[in-house]
Symmetry: D2
Subunit: 266 residues, 4 copies
């Protein structure tokens, strides 16, 4: 588990060209820094606040772009699915398919995803306690899939706010499965804008450092060349030109904490 794996990319497949250009930069920088890398992008944003919000190219077109990224750069890819019928086609392209947070308790989706044999990234819902993730892990295991990853992305804290409970990482690590941290979505302020979530992009490095301090298996990150123009979650996205400086810091924290022996205090 040393160093961490980066699940990095863009929020939604705004265009084939954005995906290729972003992937090129992620691949180059993670190679320079010797950080294992998985490209992330969504083909559909299925739960936008507004019906008029941009959703993406859809399943078919989206998977084509992901396949081009995968073949061009020789990297694994991850994408999220929203309905059972999407699991199998997505898994034919993606190495890892992701269970969205709001849908993390939908049994049919879990079953369809499990059957693909792909590795599954389970986003922890904003309304679940860390120890409740054990139920979802069991669902996947009973459906025959134990290639599972748990992903923290913040917990509801009053209205229109999320908080990351650092103690949750340790609780989830006790399951024995890899735990990763989606710093981008943890920065959201749900309902914070008129038609969409607001975010706290200015604090991305601070929050990511805190996550990396927890000896986690991976970091999930979305960037954009111009966050103010991003079609979804720009307020939480890292400006792409800061990626290298950002990852250097994350690797430094990860390296120093993973060298530390456990201190038994309980």
């Amino acid at each position: 588990d040393k160093p961490f794996t980066l699940f990095g990319g863009i929020n939604v497949l705004e265009s084939r060209d954005l995906a290729m250009s972003a992937a090129e930069q992620y691949v180059r920088i993670t190679e320079e820094l010797d950080i294992p890398y998985v490209f992330k992008a969504s083909f559909d944003k299925a739960n936008r606040s507004s019906i008029n919000s941009f959703r993406g190219p859809g399943l078919e077109e989206g998977l084509k772009i992901l396949e081009e990224v995968k073949n061009t750069f020789n990297v694994p890819v991850i994408t999220d699915v929203h309905e059972p019928y999407q699991a199998q086609p997505a898994a034919e392209v993606a190495d890892i398919i992701q269970l969205p947070a709001f849908l993390s308790r939908q049994t049919d989706l879990v079953m369809a995803m499990a059957k693909t044999g792909a590795t599954i990234n389970i986003k922890k819902a904003q309304f679940l306690a860390p120890h409740e993730m054990a139920h979802i892990l069991t669902k996947f295991q009973e459906a025959g899939n134990d290639q599972l990853i748990l992903c923290e992305r913040g917990t509801s804290f009053g209205y229109n706010n999320l908080v990351v409970d650092m103690l949750g990482f340790g609780i989830m690590k006790e399951t024995g499965f890899p735990v990763i941290f989606d710093v981008t979505h943890a920065l959201q302020r749900p309902g914070g804008r008129l038609d969409s979530a607001d975010g706290r992009r200015a604090q991305v490095t601070d929050l990511a450092r805190a996550g990396m301090s927890q000896k986690i298996a991976g970091l999930f990150l979305e960037s954009h060349p111009d966050p103010s123009q991003a079609k979804c979650d720009g307020p939480s996205a890292l400006p792409l030109d800061k990626l290298k400086a950002f990852l250097e810091q994350m690797k430094a924290v990860d390296t120093v904490v993973k060298e530390m022996p456990e201190i038994v205090t309980g």
Copy 2:
């Protein structure tokens, strides 16, 4: 809006006989008390904590039972749908179809439900602020459906707990749409049992009275002849033999508050 409408029934269609027997009692008692009534039951519990939990008879068999209830007792029925393909068949039987709380931001499901022309009951997600419901109403309206109901069922409050913010009723009523209160699910303690939610059944009358004090359009209630044996959410269900006493009190509160003029204090 006087008196309130009862959306009452059972959690899940455990059997045809339970549904018919419960419906018979609901119908008889609401007629005696002159309370408008809609029968509620789910054909599928799609997000149970465990894969081994009882889910129900499924769409086809479930709709048959709902149709029998509807025809036998001449009452409207409401049921919840979980995937877009279920909306149309459910709406052919049910007068009202319900958008589940966890799924309340899934655009495709919203669209499919809107197109049926049925009345929609929108459960407010545990992770949403009352004012954010405006986005979901707009989604339905833009999809051509304005027969909409908003339903409060509690908000995440720390881990494994829900709280009902009484001020949320007033905020949601400002949308102009009817607002109802699902007292049963608001009593849940999510993740409170080893394999399922716990509940606070002993406090159902207290919490329902508080909701009724808010001049709301309706009450959503699940009962069971023996809550300790219920296959889902028994810890939050009203014992069916208390239904009449319970509804008498609810009607009394509703009547007294709806006679009160608004006092402008703001």
Copy 3:
């Protein structure tokens, strides 16, 4: 416990004349409506957000005003104390002395208040669960005072917000002590203004009705002839000219719910 007792008055003793004028109106209206009444006012606001905020006339001058109210209108009075030395002099005038929410765990203050023999109104801190109030009751009882009242005033809910958990009334009533509801402070938005708390005055009637639906012993209310000019907590205060209409509604709810038999559902 029928009907409820009103603990009503003004936030802080802005002046002798305001106190006398407000008391006159409270006394007249509660007599008309046959509601037992206790006059409430603070001599010192000891925890304002800003050092420049108005604090009040202080202990000595404040007690003089309270005494004049008490003697003129022949009503019991309640006031809050903040340090142990204030308990005895306050209890010489006030029939009930109040333990502030933020201070509700300060043992020395509890002891000093207990020793006076006065009835004690214990505000539930925003950071305490309802069942934790049992500890504070025990503290007072072990110090020899069992004339105790518990007062709900909202619980921290994320940042800058309070929520009233209706289920807390029932939990606190199980202690056997009278439970009252401070609707005014429950309306606060802590830190919601640049230099002070904001409030949700427009919703005071809605929230008070919800509280009254819980068969409680009393209602705690602050009013002001012109809330926009009040020196403290105006955003949460009832306009004094709405008092009669407001109390008529509260009495109606209280009466109807207290006539209802308990329904055992647990």
Copy 4:
């Protein structure tokens, strides 16, 4: 601000011997690790859950012990005060006096502490947002004292739980004052035991690492030679024999993050 300062010691002055023995170990280890050090202990636990809980030796006897620690080991000391009259005598011995979280808005206590001229450690109340600390800083400054430290110790998260919002450190650092992290009290589970708070001692190293990742001025820590026998907050205390290993890790995290340049992403 490199490296961080340790505000370390014991919860309450259980005895003169415990204080001297603990101080000896803290001093020796912080000298070995070259970490600036301030000895912390309370003379009175003024807000225990139960009246029968151990409170400590009191002001006079407690200050004697603190003075002996100070003179013997030549270290600065910090202690907390609870009433205005304690500020001056405490400041005659202690280099830093601490404003307790529950009392952080009590104006008289703030004024009395400010006047001593001592450095003030302001505990952030569990019910305050990070940006609200600006009000308390202003109170101290207007009272003539700007030797101020802000201390995070967790925020109310539902009932009986605290969460540390990592984004709060950055918000408080914008005030320009040093920000420290009380990891011990952030581990509390308020009301988690029959008569007192429970704690999450087993996770002290994880949570402290997260705090240190935020480039903070100091760490506040309580230890005990045998936490299971501690008279207060043992469930949150670090076993004293783990102190050296623990501090080595904290210094390593602090060093690596403070070498990192800020990345502007906002």
